[in-house]
């Protein structure tokens, strides 16, 4: 079946279940691939080959015993380093957690284990998921496999790059303002931010609790759906987890049909400020959807132009509160404890030494927005804008089944280009942020390369809360039509590393 590391997850799972290959062989092939290319890509912060091979061996034993296995059993995965995994280094890309080994598994990890998915290791990310380029990782940037001088997106650039470099066919991301979708967009891979509460946040190191959402990443829509189904569902350990059946995303990905579907083009997300090649591929994708039998109409969401402003007040506010726990007392880094310094001094020295520039920037911004005298003008106003954006979505979904836009305004930019220009960096998330503010689900999938730079362009599909299956129905149809046209998946055009 060719190089094992180039195969998609569903193909590998099937080959393992039918004993065509062993899970150990599949895992070893990916570990070898990581050894061969991760020196250039730096998608992984930590790989535990021994644990992965042991997990794979256990899958092979189950196959030999004739045990019925899940649809992804034995398939390797990269886990974003923001999710706690018992006994394995978990840093969230920060020096303040260097060397920390959680004493428990996050719910996502528990479910991955239960599904017999083999966890290869932890993937790189912007520190505490703050960023759109993975350059804010305290452990060095990840490089985009399409062009090693460019960013892989962020914050989950490690997970997306691992997929695009064929280091893993599956990955987990978390999405607070686009951290699954924007990396998918710039690496030619697929990523889904589920409806808020669809996947448990228990054991996810919190950035902004009312926005954070873990989700699946893969190279195909079907693989993404299979992973989505494996990790989703109610969890009593997360009080914001939705206690309702998970939409049948796998069936939707297999049905892949947009006939009769009403697709709304968000007027405010596109046009000015979007790269020409992004707009061109986006327009072509809309034509394809139309030719497949969808009705494409334009809708207006006038409050979206205020989403970025509201987000960059709400997120830092929640983050400044969540990150207060990193005080150097119970775990993580401690600096300045010389017997003379008092506890507040030690905390201040620890946080100064342990946090990077973007984290400090956002902590101070949030502290400011929440402080007495400014609360109403900033945080209070931002919460009202959140209401307006949610109303815009609700009104739009009365007219259409799904909404669409480009995922990101540009293709991957050069490493270093926007590193110390927070506003330019924040603008990458302009099309992905409204989804998080409203708590709905969205997907990014590749729709081609921009003619001017030959880099992947992402297409965003947004669905009402708890209708995540529609993402896969539309995404699956578009992917099938494009794959038909190209004769292969876009990712197969990625350069050799």
């Amino acid at each position: 079946m060719g190089d094992l590391f180039r195969q998609n997850a569903s193909v590998l799972a099937n080959a393992i279940a039918t004993k065509e290959v062993s899970a150990v062989e599949v895992t070893q092939a990916h570990l070898d691939r990581i050894s061969a290319v991760d020196g250039k890509v730096h998608a992984f912060l930590h790989v535990n080959a021994q644990a992965a091979l042991e997990q794979a061996k256990a899958v092979d034993a189950k196959v030999a015993a004739g045990t019925t296995l899940g649809p992804l059993a034995g398939v390797p995965l990269g886990l974003k380093d923001v999710l706690a995994m018992k006994g394995e280094p978990t840093t969230a890309g920060s020096k303040i957690l260097e060397g920390w080994r959680p004493p428990y598994d996050s719910t996502v990890v528990q479910r991955l284990r239960a599904a017999d998915i083999v966890i290869l290791g932890k993937t790189n990310m912007d520190e505490f998921a703050m960023g759109s380029s993975t350059e804010h990782s305290a452990y060095g940037a990840t490089h985009n496999p399409w062009d090693l001088d460019r960013i892989p997106g962020g914050s989950g650039g490690g997970s997306a790059a691992a997929l695009a470099a064929f280091e893993a066919p599956l990955a987990i991301g978390t999405d607070t303002g686009g951290s699954i979708r924007q990396p998918a967009s710039v690496t030619g891979t697929v990523g889904v931010k589920p409806t808020y509460g669809g996947v448990s946040r228990y054991g996810q190191i919190a950035l902004a609790s009312s926005l954070d959402q873990p989700g699946p990443c893969a190279r195909t829509v079907l693989d993404t759906a299979l992973l989505h189904a494996a990790i989703a569902g109610h969890d009593p350990m997360d009080s914001t987890s939705i206690n309702a059946p998970v939409p049948d995303v796998v069936a939707a990905a297999k049905r892949a049909d947009v006939r009769g579907m009403k697709i709304g083009v968000v007027k405010e997300l596109g046009g000015e400020g979007y790269q020409a090649g992004v707009s061109q591929r986006y327009a072509e994708a809309l034509e394809i959807l139309q030719s497949l039998g969808a009705e494409v109409i334009e809708v207006s969401c006038p409050s979206f132009e205020y989403a970025l402003g509201a987000y960059y007040l709400i997120l830092p506010s929640e983050a400044s509160s969540n990150l207060a726990r990193f005080d150097g007392m119970r775990y993580g880094l401690r600096v300045g404890d010389d017997g003379n310094n008092g506890v507040e001094q030690v905390m201040s020295m620890t946080r100064e030494a342990g946090f990077g520039p973007e984290v400090k920037r956002r902590i101070m911004l949030g502290t400011y927005a929440l402080s007495s005298g400014y609360y109403d003008a900033y945080y209070g106003q931002a919460q009202k804008v959140r209401t307006l954006i949610t109303r815009d979505f609700n009104a739009a979904f009365e007219q259409v089944d799904v909404l669409v836009s480009p995922t990101a305004p540009t293709t991957a930019f050069k490493l270093g280009e926007k590193l110390d220009d927070p506003i330019a960096m924040y603008l990458n998330d302009v099309a992905t942020i409204p989804v998080n503010l409203a708590g709905i689900g969205a997907m990014s999938l590749p729709i081609g390369l921009a003619p001017e730079d030959g880099l992947p362009v992402g297409f965003q599909i947004m669905a009402p809360a708890m209708a995540d299956d529609r993402l896969y129905l539309a995404g699956g149809a578009l992917e099938a039509a494009l794959t038909d046209r190209w004769g292969h998946l876009l990712i197969e055009e990625a350069p050799e590393l």
Binding site: R101, Y306, R330, V343, F355, T367, G380, A465
Partner: protein, 98 residues
Amino acid sequence: MTSISRADVAHLGRLARLELTESELDHYSEQLDVILQSVARISEVAADDIPPMSHPIPMVNVFRDDVVKPSLTRQEALAAAPATEDDRFRVPRILDEE
């Protein structure tokens, strides 16, 4: 909306327990000012009659039964601590010497 000064940043650093350096004070006062200017537009749209939204899912008081479940052992809970003493977290002094 007000602009943010170097002294404001120093104050925020104290509130947020960040021992900022002199160059950080200069750098961040400039950047935070730019960021705040760019987000200030949100005050244009949100009228008084719009209710604030704190969370995407309207739910309150999610309860569970109050039953004892297995939890971390003392050893596990202390395993990652920077310093321990007598089976407890050891912390720097919390009172000023007077």
